[in-house]
């Protein structure tokens, strides 16, 4: 990963609105981050945090009542948000591709797998002959570890197992050697025993293609293992962003701390499974000020948290956080650790 070089994907102040019963709602409220060539960038958050929508917005895949309402996205310096629909269409599947959560519903049930993979080749490499495409499809299926690829191209999605379907999706996604691979909860819908295999494949394939990968997940452990950089989202906003190692060793945001504390640990007796008290925020009714404030154990009733939205400030090398009192976190964690696992409720 080359720090300091220009990012391959640059997102600035992205705003996504959904039309609600009583006016537009900002599902994503001013998110900014950079992804560098060849790095694994994890976006972590609870469901409803806006992490998937952010990437769908980047790809121009927002549907129905959601729409891009602000901000700019640049791919290799070219603005995606300014592009026409046709230009953006040509970017999709070629320079940026996406893998979705549920491979069963993400594949067309009445078309053969081979045809569905071939489609992405036909769209972006129209000069290829049918024979060339067919060969390439078989090659791709083999690459992703599908046994007997030639026979499998003629099968339908329901004849594949869950893991194999996701492999087919991965094959589709890498077919045109994209610069960026977006994986939206790629293993969540799979059996636990398969998850590791598919994740391993995804990483191997990415490395081979030297593509950047944006991994969207709620699984902190996954991100800790695989990501180079991490962004933590909550309530449609970015809470913290930085190198994975830095975030996990020295988190700079109370939400991140809470997330890490709520992971069940195999090495400690789980007499108490911590979960951040309270409910995820309603994006239609964001509290004024910091969006995490109502559930924050660090705020200690301080007024600024309830009135002013914290800006994303640097706290380390390429490490930013959106918290008014991030400098207190080290000390706070120290107290918590000293006092035992279940004192997250304690305010400093």
């Amino acid at each position: 990963m080359t720090q300091g070089s220009a990012p391959i994907l640059s997102v600035r102040d992205l705003v996504v609105e959904a039309v609600g019963a009583s006016g537009p709602v900002r599902i994503v409220d001013g998110v900014s981050f950079d992804v560098h060539a060849g790095e694994v960038f994890g976006i972590v958050g609870e469901s409803g945090s806006g992490k998937s929508i952010t990437m769908l917005a980047v790809m121009g895949l927002l549907s129905g009542r959601t729409r891009l309402a602000g901000g700019e996205v640049k791919l290799r310096g070219r603005s995606l948000t300014d592009m026409s629909r046709e230009e953006l269409r040509r970017v999709r599947g070629k320079q940026v591709s996406m893998i979705f959560q549920d491979p069963m519903t993400s594949l067309n049930p009445v078309l053969r797998i081979g045809n569905q993979i071939a489609e992405i080749l036909e769209i972006h490499q129209p000069e290829l002959t049918r024979a060339a495409i067919r060969d390439r499809v078989i090659e791709l299926l083999g690459l992703v570890g599908v046994p007997n690829p030639e026979r499998r191209t003629r099968q339908y999605p329901h004849e594949f197992s869950g893991g194999m379907r996701q492999r087919a999706m991965i094959a589709m996604a890498i077919a045109n050697n994209p610069d960026i691979l977006i994986a939206d909860e790629p293993t969540t819908a799979l059996d636990v025993t398969i998850q590791a295999q598919v994740m391993e494949l995804l990483l191997a394939v990415r490395t081979r293609n030297q593509a950047a990968m944006i991994l969207i997940t709620h699984d902190l452990g996954l991100v800790a293992e695989t990501a180079d950089r991490v962004a933590v989202m909550y309530g449609g906003r970015l809470m913290e962003e930085g190198p994975a190692e830095g975030i996990f060793s020295r988190p700079a945001h109370p939400y991140t701390v809470g997330l890490m504390a709520s992971r069940p640990r195999l090495d400690a007796a789980p007499e108490f499974l911590y979960s951040i008290p309270g409910q995820p925020p309603s994006v239609a009714n964001r509290p004024p000020g910091c969006v995490f404030n109502p559930r924050c154990a660090l705020q200690n009733g301080r007024e600024i948290c309830a009135t002013t939205v914290p800006s994303l400030d640097r706290v380390g090398v390429e490490h930013s956080t959106a918290c008014h009192f991030s400098r207190e976190i080290d000390g706070w964690i120290g107290k918590v650790n000293a006092g035992g696992g279940n004192t997250m409720q304690e305010t400093p």
Partner: protein, 305 residues
């Protein structure tokens, strides 16, 4: 596929037996069947002959048995008017009814498909609304009245098409169109909601993520999936279609089984009535079976289970 076929076949056979049983009891509903099934001038010998043939002097199960046996041998009695086997008369008219019904069925689906596609691809919401309105109005007009309107317009006023009989293609047009447009409103609504359902599906999102164009996504991805419920409903509506065909045949004097049944009722030729109704039920069951097979062809999930 074979298992699916076997299962449907068994169901169909059971249905046919059910209908036969119902017919058996229906005839006995009005009292002594020999009154229905013999002409007025029947002699006592004729009556006795029929009674023994139908087993009317024996117990009910034996009567039923004889009835089934007779039916399976193709013996449904003699037409009271023409003294020929009732079944022969019906079979003679069958091709005409099939020609009309199948043409209308296919035409109906094709029309729904084409109009539905236009509705989906057109950018004009007014056109969409207009089409749905027209279809709705069409559906509120009884089949026979619509046929009459067709005749009034195309035969009487414009003189383009013949108003009755069967012979050339031009004879087929009016009756087939009358039948085919009846369910158009239903098909369109279904087709649209099926296509609409497809819109939100994940695989459509995948197709967009691949960079596919909107038109191709509709044609190549959404359409085949949307056809499935359409075919199902078309199959279910077959009942309406065949029933409407019976009426339509009378409107256009189309020489099919339906018209034969109606004429026979007014002539009190009950053996022909029963033979006709049984035959139409059989046709109905067979067409249903075919539609199910069609469904299996379209949906690989059914085919391979």
């Amino acid at each position: 596929m074979l298992r699916f076929l076997a299962r449907r076949l068994t169901q169909s056979i059971l249905t046919v037996f059910g209908v036969l049983t119902a017919a058996f009891f229906l005839v006995r509903l009005a009292g002594d069947p020999s009154v229905l099934l013999l002409p007025v001038e029947a002699t006592d010998k004729d009556i006795a002959l029929l009674r023994s043939e139908l087993g009317l002097d024996r117990s009910l199960p034996i009567q039923y048995g004889k009835f089934l046996l007779n039916v399976l041998q193709g013996d449904l009695g003699l037409s009271l008017r023409q003294r020929v086997p009732a079944l022969d008369l019906v079979v003679e008219r069958l091709p005409a009814t099939l020609e009309l019904a199948l043409t209308a069925f296919v035409l109906g689906l094709v029309l729904a498909f084409v109009v539905g596609l236009i509705m989906r691809l057109t950018p004009s919401p007014r056109l969409r609304a207009a089409i749905m309105w027209l279809a709705f109005i069409r559906q509120a007009i009884p089949v026979f009245f619509f046929g009459l309107l067709m005749i009034l317009l195309f035969s009487v006023t414009l003189g383009w098409l013949p108003s009755l009989g069967r012979g050339t293609i031009s004879h087929l047009i009016l009756p087939a169109v009358t039948l085919a447009t009846y369910e158009l409103a239903l098909y369109l609504r279904l087709f649209n909601s099926a296509l609409g359902d497809q819109q939100g599906q994940d695989y459509v999102r995948t197709a967009y993520a691949k960079g596919q164009t909107r038109t191709r996504i509709i044609l190549r991805h959404m359409l085949p999936n949307a056809l499935l419920p359409l075919v199902t409903i078309a199959g279910i509506n077959l009942g309406m279609l065949l029933g409407s065909a019976v009426v339509t045949e009378t409107v256009f004097s189309w020489p099919g089984v339906g018209r034969l049944i109606v004429q026979s009722v007014s002539q009190r030729d009950y053996p022909v009535v029963i033979a006709g109704v049984l035959m139409m039920s059989l046709v109905f069951v067979l067409i249903n079976l075919t539609v199910d097979l069609l469904y299996a062809v379209l949906d690989p999930r059914v085919r391979l289970s």
